[in-house]
Symmetry: C2
Subunit: 205 residues, 2 copies
């Protein structure tokens, strides 16, 4: 036991080497199944079948179901690029109107709620979850900080709060209400929030 989970492809110098593609297949199968049946419904047998591997192969690389789940989740992070166009408005537009934006990833849409729920209940998951969140929020934080430096936003702007004002309505529809999240909605959220920021703390132009 106590394999170094997190680096499942490392060990073994003699003998048959591990099939590198199996790890990816296992992680993908795990995420797909979590999206379909939730964590409670996820079984190691189903992961093995879906990934086309034997259970032994899974346990050779991860010490437990929980370790596998944590790895699978962290593999979702794939931070998106941070735009730097010189204007807050177009930076934000670029971030949210990308077609490959996370919000258009329907698997993540189903996995994410499972993460949130598990994080509320399991301390190990809580930690991984917060790392995930911090990673995901990094780009918007950078964009806002730069906007402050440029004088586009008030110097004492609460970056976290503004990030929430922009992200939350989309996240909320995406996660809680299953509402529409299309370009029009996104644009109107951005319009309203930026207008509100300028109205309550006018730019010094």
């Amino acid at each position: 036991m106590t394999l170094p989970a997190g680096s499942p492809d490392m060990p073994a110098r003699r003998g048959r080497p591990r099939n590198q593609s199996s790890s990816a297949a296992i992680l993908t199968a795990t995420l797909d199944l979590v999206a379909e049946v939730g964590i409670a419904g996820l079984t190691m047998d189903s992961v093995a079948v879906r990934a086309g591997v034997g259970k032994a192969t899974i346990y050779r690389r991860w010490s437990s179901k929980e370790a596998l789940l944590l790895d699978a989740w962290m593999s979702c992070v794939n931070a998106s690029p941070t735009p730097d166009t010189g204007s807050l408005r177009s930076d934000v537009n670029q971030m949210f109107l990308r077609d490959d934006h996370p919000l258009s990833d329907s698997a993540l849409q189903r996995v994410f709620p499972q993460m949130v729920a598990a994080a509320k209940v399991n301390p190990d998951v809580t930690q991984a979850y917060h790392a995930f969140l911090a990673e995901r929020r990094h780009p918007i934080r950078t964009v806002l900080t730069r906007a402050i430096a440029r004088g586009e936003l008030d110097r004492d702007t609460d970056v976290e709060l503004v990030a929430d004002l922009l992200i939350a309505p989309l996240m909320y529809r995406w996660l809680v209400t299953d509402g529409v999240v299309d370009h029009q909605i996104i644009s109107r959220v951005i319009d309203t929030v930026l207008a509100g920021l300028h109205a309550t703390a006018p730019v010094p132009h």
Copy 2:
């Protein structure tokens, strides 16, 4: 089997009557335990122990674990009163700054994510969940509709979108980031959103 779940105190005219308080104790125990250990960790035995009843008593009133969960969730709804002060601003303030606001219910804070996650995966739960949501959103919808009627908001305002703009940042902190949700944050969210609405579609005063 096939007891009429949802009305667990009805039957039996002869013989010893059912203990009315047991149903409430069972529902409360269910919600508490879901908050503590999640749905996956919830066992009927633990519900029975926590509620101080026998398992038979639970199954006499609900046909299955799932039926019990659905009933327990729907019992959270307890719609809050809808303020009608004559002004959008103070209506919204009253709704969100109440000390008994749902957002200050820490049990619900842990149960709700479990509902969201389950709703993504189980069609029966999906239905109950959307009924729950509609019930919860009713007050804000009414407040916004009245504000439109008074001319405080543009006549073609998207009520659902504005509701999201107000609710989502709080909900997002409450549900996703575990961030602070105090009166100051709430006020600043309301300030910014209302300012943004008036800036993009000025009131005809």
